[in-house]
């Protein structure tokens, strides 16, 4: 890999200045590399991170490509990666005007990475550097332990999509719990409700009393309040201290739990495995926000490359070239979806709407369609509003909040249905619905959503690790259960159980059998048990 030449770098620096003037913010340094097809071969299985650890499946995976987007939360062919400094990749024969457009696109991505709160946990360190250290560690272990390193990587990767990313995020920027706040929390959240089971009126009286104290005594409020409590409930302090001792254990995801409690991993001769697992876990957590902000991120970048390119005086004369490429990237397909197009239009729609004051109570009060159409409070807050969104939202919130009927009508969007025409033996595509609710639902269905699988600590004693899949209307991919649980069993060193839900469908149809009868889906709660590398299944109830 080779850095771009000085001439092109100068263009990039010019783009940075203009992007900053428009309000984007990002670190000064960036690295731009020219990549060849050969580089791509090496980079793509490694999530475009040149320093990622080696793993043999990477070599085979290149040969398959089935369902890879469902398997791992990243896009293998991204142009810019979220490192410090941000690294981006280029074809070596792009003309200057095209590079200008791509640079703006890249800078908007970098701005997104470095400002969106869902990337908060990636701000403090450089992944490329970290990954290099990890890669060396794994290489060293591999020279000592041989193929067992690869088994550990494999088994850890088997559950690396279950990392508690949101839990990790929620730990950041949280004020540390002090003794005082804990006592207050315990009193109101646990003691009154769970221990004393007071009536609602009583509970509200206590809250009012607390607020009174707060107003009257300021810093001494808590002391005053709790001295009264001690009079009323003499047992409170003892119970509070007891509670602190057995404070609710922290929520751990599967990998964290294994690292902490696995008898197998905590044996002296197996401790090296923990560092491997930790690397797999950290890498996965790092990439979690990527896939959850795909539409916003691409929309944001497309929005800015359009805006900034058209303003850039350096590329005069290439408007038509730009238009052709830009339309290719951001056109709405007749059938199908395009994250660039959807995200960009949504940002533009929101900016305009916010400028006219449409995300306000006053606007929502209007019942008259004509008045709504005419509504314009001229707030001038459009740009500010979308900058706010880029900081605080991810795809789900973004789509769920802002895909409304107005947006759907404006861009003439619809849900496409696909049905079989048996006479002509063709699939027919038809306009199924132009209703915004259905359109939004269709979008949300497509978003990445790993299953939520947690450890049931109550059941997890006596050497068994008990996992519970929270049912959300979808079963697990059955053929992968055995392999994954085998891995967990290895890392845990004992029996592993998984509770999940499965479909009992009407019997499968043969090709030419008589027309099927319509039957609903029935769900059955089942437990898989992996013991001694053998899997068995039992129905619950």
């Amino acid at each position: 890999m080779q850095l771009i030449d000085q001439h092109t770098k100068k263009i990039m620096e010019g783009c940075k200045e203009r992007a900053r003037d428009a309000g984007l913010s990002f670190a000064d340094e960036t690295l731009e590399y020219v990549v060849t097809n050969r580089d791509m071969l090496e980079l793509s299985p490694k999530v475009m991170i040149p320093t990622l650890y080696d793993y043999w499946v990477h070599d085979v995976e290149v040969l398959k490509g089935k369902g890879r987007y469902e398997l791992y939360p990243h896009n293998p062919y991204e142009t810019v990666i979220n490192t410090r400094p941000a690294i981006s990749f280029y074809n070596d024969n792009n003309p200057d005007w095209l590079n200008v457009m791509i640079f703006y696109h890249v800078l908007a991505h970098v701005d997104f990475f470095q400002n969106n709160q869902f990337f908060r946990h990636t701000w403090e360190y450089d992944l490329a550097g970290q990954a290099l250290a990890d890669k060396r560690l794994i290489a060293r272990l591999r020279s000592e332990k041989g193929r067992w390193v690869d088994y550990v990587i494999e088994f850890a990767r088997g559950v690396d999509n279950l990392v508690d990313y949101f839990g990790e995020l929620s730990q950041l920027d949280r004020p540390p719990a002090t003794h005082l706040t804990r006592r207050r929390d315990y009193y109101f959240d646990v003691f009154l409700q769970a221990v004393k089971k007071v009536k609602t009126a009583e509970y509200i009286r206590e809250i009012e009393r607390y607020n009174d104290c707060q107003n009257k005594y300021d810093e001494l409020a808590d002391d005053t309040f709790f001295s009264d409590v001690a009079e009323k409930y003499p047992e409170f302090e003892t119970m509070f201290h007891k509670y602190l001792e057995v404070l609710e254990p922290a929520r751990l995801d599967v990998l964290q739990f294994l690292l902490e409690y696995s008898p197998f991993l905590n044996r002296d001769e197996n401790k090296w495995m923990k560092s491997v697992i930790d690397i797999v876990r950290k890498t996965s957590v790092y990439f979690q926000p990527q896939i959850r902000t795909k539409i916003m991120n691409e929309g944001w970048a497309s929005y800015w490359h359009e805006t900034l390119f058209l303003r850039d005086e350096r590329i005069k004369g290439h408007e038509a070239d730009f238009a052709r490429i830009h339309a290719g990237v951001t056109s709405m397909p007749r059938v199908g979806l395009n994250p660039y197009a959807l995200g960009m239009r949504l940002f533009q729609h929101i900016e305009e709407g916010a400028g006219r004051g449409k995300y306000t109570h006053d606007y929502h009060k209007l019942a008259d369609a004509w008045q709504r159409e005419k509504y314009d409070a001229a707030t001038g807050k459009g740009p500010e509003f979308i900058f706010h969104l880029r900081e605080h939202m991810a795809d789900f919130l973004f789509l769920n909040t802002f895909v409304d009927q107005e947006f759907v009508n404006r861009h003439r969007l619809f849900v496409t249905g696909k049905r079989l025409n048996r006479q002509r033996m063709v699939w027919e595509y038809y306009v199924k619905s132009r209703n915004a609710d259905e359109y939004r639902q269709m979008l949300l269905e497509l978003l990445y959503h790993p299953p939520s699988i947690a450890i049931d600590r109550q059941k997890s004693d006596g050497g068994t690790l008990s996992l519970v899949h929270r049912f959300e209307g979808k079963p697990l991919v059955q053929e992968f259960i055995a392999g994954t649980m085998l891995g967990i069993e290895f890392l845990w060193g004992g029996r592993v159980q998984l509770e999940t839900s499965e479909v009992t469908l009407p019997p499968p149809q043969e090709g030419w059998a008589p027309a099927e009868k319509k039957e609903g889906i029935q769900w059955q709660r089942v437990v898989y048990t992996m013991e001694g590398r053998k899997l068995r299944k039992e129905n619950l109830q």
């Binding site: 040969l63 709405m332 199908g336 619809f414 979808k474 090709g511």
Partner: protein
């Protein structure tokens, strides 16, 4: 064929048919599909609408990198070794054999690639869809609700390509070379027993004469380019070319040995040793999974024999419904649509005719592999069995694969029952094998089946 089939059906009906069987026969009879091949581009696994697109492709037109076919094969031994170790360590094997993959016809040439694949197993959400539920996607533009905006021909699931996309370089005989490698993997991975040398038919060797060898000093034809090269070499050595930008040919010395000639020489030409007939039932009832299983088994058998006979294999492809016909290549064999009624005898008869007409029995080891769902209108095999007996006289091995529909249950299909009743299976186990698998069979079962057919 409609008329013949109708007459045949009427005749069968006159003899009396159980109602469920009549229904199945009628379904095939009324099947109006034809056998034209399916469109070759398979877009089964479309990329995810959101996560399938990336900046490099969208903005810079950088296609996802294509792994050259050779890179994959080079690491194959290592992969297989790793896979063997897994078993030793008590973990299930992870390398799967890539199925047949057929990218679009490039420049009129169909290309096939067979690759080893693996999958990263994770706990993932699966999709549940009721059989009649429709797929929905996004769209934009004009059109009233309910209006049809486009259509696409149906590809019955049975003929879908392998899993995942893939493409490779290489030229015309790509299928051969990859199938050869697949055969190698098969024999190593699954420890298929090596086929015994039948010994009855000796390999044919013949000589041909051609101007292929080179000889210095004398010969039939002067190779001017090679001669000139030698002259220059000699003269460089002699120091006759002081300045290469200004060569004075008049100063050249020419030694007698510098003259390079082509001479007539005897070349060994090996004749193919084995002829394989692949026979596949493509009647209406083969829709879906049965076809997929039969075809994937046949490509594995093909690969296997190609390896066994060190590529000295010729193959013939025959498809049949109630009539049989020969198709020119594996592509047509593989991709012909299912339709029509079933008469196994027609295919056997055609094989016999071809063997007889071309006098193949004398020069070849003949293998015949037949794949069917076991459904035959000729219930008792009155026509099929005599043809089969004739085949046994010359064939080295006949392997019949029956993919049983789930409605068969524990009873036997027609083909199964008449083969067993004939006693041929017991009489000539060396020559005739049958393997019946359920419709839900996995790849491992398919390979197990090959062992039964071939061992």
């Amino acid at each position: 064929m409609g008329k013949d089939l109708q007459t045949y059906f009427d005749a069968l009906k006159a003899q009396g048919l159980p109602p469920d069987r009549e229904e199945r026969l009628l379904a095939e009879l009324r099947d109006e599909r034809s056998h034209e091949p399916l469109p070759s581009s398979s877009a089964k696994h479309e990329p995810h609408p959101f996560y399938g697109s990336g900046d490099l492709a969208a903005l810079q037109d950088v296609a996802p990198p294509q792994t050259p076919y050779t890179v994959g094969i080079r690491s194959l031994d290592e992969l297989l070794e790793r896979d063997r170790m897994r078993e030793q360590d008590g973990f299930p094997r992870k390398i799967q054999l890539g199925r047949l993959i057929k990218p679009a016809r490039a420049g009129g040439k169909e290309r096939f690639v067979i690759v080893p694949t693996t999958v990263e197993e994770k706990l993932l959400h699966d999709q549940v869809r009721l059989p009649e539920e429709e797929e929905s996607a996004g769209g934009s533009g004009s059109g009233e609700e309910g209006e049809v905006i486009g259509e696409q021909p149906v590809r019955p699931e049975g003929e879908e390509g392998g899993e995942g996309a893939g493409a490779g370089g290489g030229e015309a005989h790509e299928l051969e070379s990859t199938a050869y490698d697949l055969g190698k993997i098969l024999s190593e991975k699954f420890e298929l027993p090596n086929l015994k040398d039948k010994g009855k038919k000796s390999a044919l060797v013949r000589y041909s004469y051609d101007l292929t060898d080179k000889k210095r000093g004398f010969g039939q034809l002067l190779d001017k380019k090679a001669t000139l090269r030698r002259i220059i070499e000699t003269n460089i050595a002699l120091g006759n070319i002081p300045d290469i930008s200004n060569i004075d040919t008049t100063r050249f010395l020419i030694a007698p040995d510098d003259r390079v000639y082509r001479i007539l020489s005897r070349e060994l030409d090996y004749e193919s040793q084995a002829m394989i007939f692949f026979v596949r039932d493509y009647s209406g009832s083969m829709d879906g999974k049965p076809t997929e299983l039969v075809v994937s088994q046949h490509i594995l058998v093909y690969s296997w024999l190609l390896y066994q006979y060190a590529k000295q294999v010729e193959s013939r492809f025959i498809v049949h419904d109630n009539e049989a016909k020969e198709v020119p290549d594996f592509y047509s064999y593989y991709s012909a649509r299912v339709a029509g009624g079933t008469k196994v005898a027609s295919a056997f008869r055609l094989v016999n005719e071809i063997v007889e007409k071309e006098k193949l029995a004398k020069d070849y080891n003949i293998f015949i592999f037949h794949g069917t769902d076991g459904d035959d209108w000729d219930t008792e095999g009155k026509e099929a069995l005599p043809e089969l007996k004739k085949m046994i006289t010359y064939a080295s091995r006949i392997g019949v694969t029956v993919v049983r529909h789930s409605y068969i249950g524990s009873s036997k299909t027609e083909v199964e029952s008449y083969l067993e009743n004939s006693g041929l299976l017991k009489e000539k186990p060396e020559l005739l094998r049958m393997d019946a698998m359920d419709i839900e069979a996995e790849e491992a079962r398919v390979i197990e089946g090959i062992k039964r057919l071939i061992s």
